[in-house]
Symmetry: C2
Subunit: 322 residues, 2 copies
């Protein structure tokens, strides 16, 4: 049987309150008493029962990370850094892959509302209006779930515009945009907006597919795009999976890349996964993860947080542009 605070108190000949104060490093304890207690703790190999502690303090020291899928380079990397940063702040991370299942998401929401976690990072697809959620600290990435949910994002608009300019200045005349429309209000939409604006500025017609898409429907969307715009010579692809599928499909059709068609993608670059060496807008995933955790910790502690944090991306040249 594990030793309890009571055992320690008895052994040291003091009250349990005193032991508690020593454990929690409160200063108001006499040096001699402290020593006695410390010795007792040592002798009994005592360590605080976490469940009792949490129950008493009404905090779990756990945060939840909700992602649509975990087996995806972006989310996996994000998860790694979220976990790392959370650990620094003394929090554990519960991982939830909603797999774009609205019911599963709802179940988690309930957990959060029931205070099984202290807070959550939402990087999901659906909107949840759980009234019980109001009091729970939640932060997000890219998604704008409302004014109470601060989020971290990257400079989607500028980065996309620059990437498109790069292709056009390099000679591309028929530039397309391939993306999928987010289900919730999201900064990701800025990419499409940037494309539309750029086309207008250059006086070029739109070649764009940007519909709502389920995970796994990439192939259909890609072939839809290719059917409509077989004449493109430069394409901006929004998102990792789409970019990989698009590249494969174009290659299969005999297109030479970048000679016939240039490709730039958002998040296209995950070399360590064996991905294609693609010219890409690279998001600062580590920094996004760390920032979002810090936001959450602040929210948990009831501190003020900025509603929107924008981080800079990097334009990385790969083998898919001239």
């Amino acid at each position: 049987m594990e030793a309890t605070i009571k055992d320690v108190a008895k052994y040291a000949g003091v009250g349990v309150g005193t032991v508690s104060r020593v454990i929690n490093n409160e200063k108001a304890v006499g040096e001699k008493t402290r020593q006695k207690v410390l010795e007792a703790i040592e002798a009994l190999n005592y360590s605080r029962n976490n469940m009792a502690f949490q129950f008493r303090k009404n905090e779990t020291r756990i945060i939840a990370l909700l992602v649509p899928v975990i087996n995806h380079p972006f989310f996996a990397k994000l998860a790694y850094y979220v976990e790392d940063e959370a650990t620094r702040f003394g929090y554990s991370v519960i991982l939830v892959s909603s797999q774009q299942n609205v019911d599963k998401e709802a179940a988690i929401i309930k957990k959060i509302a029931h205070r099984e976690v202290d807070g959550a990072v939402f990087v999901t697809h659906y909107m949840h209006e759980e009234e019980s959620l109001k009091g729970c600290p939640i932060v997000s990435i890219d998604r704008n779930f409302g004014e109470n949910i601060p989020y971290v994002t990257s400079d989607n608009y500028d980065a996309t515009k620059n990437a498109i300019k790069y292709m056009i200045e390099g000679g591309a005349k028929k530039v397309g945009f391939l993306g999928s429309k987010p289900l919730v209000e999201s900064e990701v939409s800025e990419r499409a907006r940037a494309y539309v604006d750029a086309m207008q500025e250059y006086g070029m017609p739109l070649r764009m597919v940007n519909e709502v898409m389920q995970h796994g429907e990439e192939a259909a969307v890609v072939s839809d795009f290719i059917k409509q715009y077989s004449d493109v010579d430069g394409v901006f692809v929004s998102g990792y999976t789409l970019s990989q599928v698009f590249y494969d499909e174009m290659t299969a059709l005999g297109k030479r890349i970048p000679d016939d068609v240039e490709i730039v993608s958002y998040d296209g670059i995950f070399r360590q996964w064996g991905a294609i060496n693609m010219t890409s807008v690279e998001q600062p995933i580590e920094e996004m993860a760390r920032q979002v955790v810090r936001l959450l910790v602040k929210k948990i502690h009831g501190e003020e947080t900025p509603a929107r944090t924008v981080l800079k991306t990097k334009f990385v040249l790969g083998a898919t542009t001239k």
Copy 2:
């Protein structure tokens, strides 16, 4: 303020014990009483305080998943299915990427020993001898951490041997093996053993690099292999990352694959990550994950578990063999 069991009892005009019995679905409650309580729960929008419940029952309903890295196709996929299966059994999953940091692993071990989780799935690199761990339910994948830690694995030996035979029967004369030696006793070592046996059977000399390797040292190991065995015409590569790096390196050297060199890898196939379409031994990751969770749940409940569960792999033909 959230309603407590006390509020419900008062509202329903019964004792708290009765409310508890209703909540926990014990049969020994009169139908009329049950109805009254149910109504009270409804009216007060009561839901059980999980922290109190856990504290009282001395269980967290959380399991930990320890992986070396989460941003890796194998572990990410594993994590997804572990989480999914755990959810079915009512457990949440705390994700820990030890990043091959022995201190971080040790910190987690301590958590587990302190019962911050009910059990753990260890898929790590180091051996931990924490005496306090003895009582804690732990299971593993591939690793053999000792007789108290059951594990799930795949048919490494047979699968490797078959793959090598496939290359040889297809015409390969100089077959190599590229892998990394596990730091703990692991079924992964069976792959090297199968290769050695196969070479002996066919009377072929060994062309083998199989040293202990840190994550990130893949490139060095690969070039080490290539320097020594530039004449190979078929290579079995153990592990996803190594196989990707090897493929890239060979291609960069102007080797045509599979015409000059055939490659078969263990875990080489993660098309959804944009990986090369490689002939590969495919592990049943989903099934491994589900089995390992079921093992763990059994251990948590104190049930008997088989020490070793072996699942069948699939040989998948890709574009890296003739």
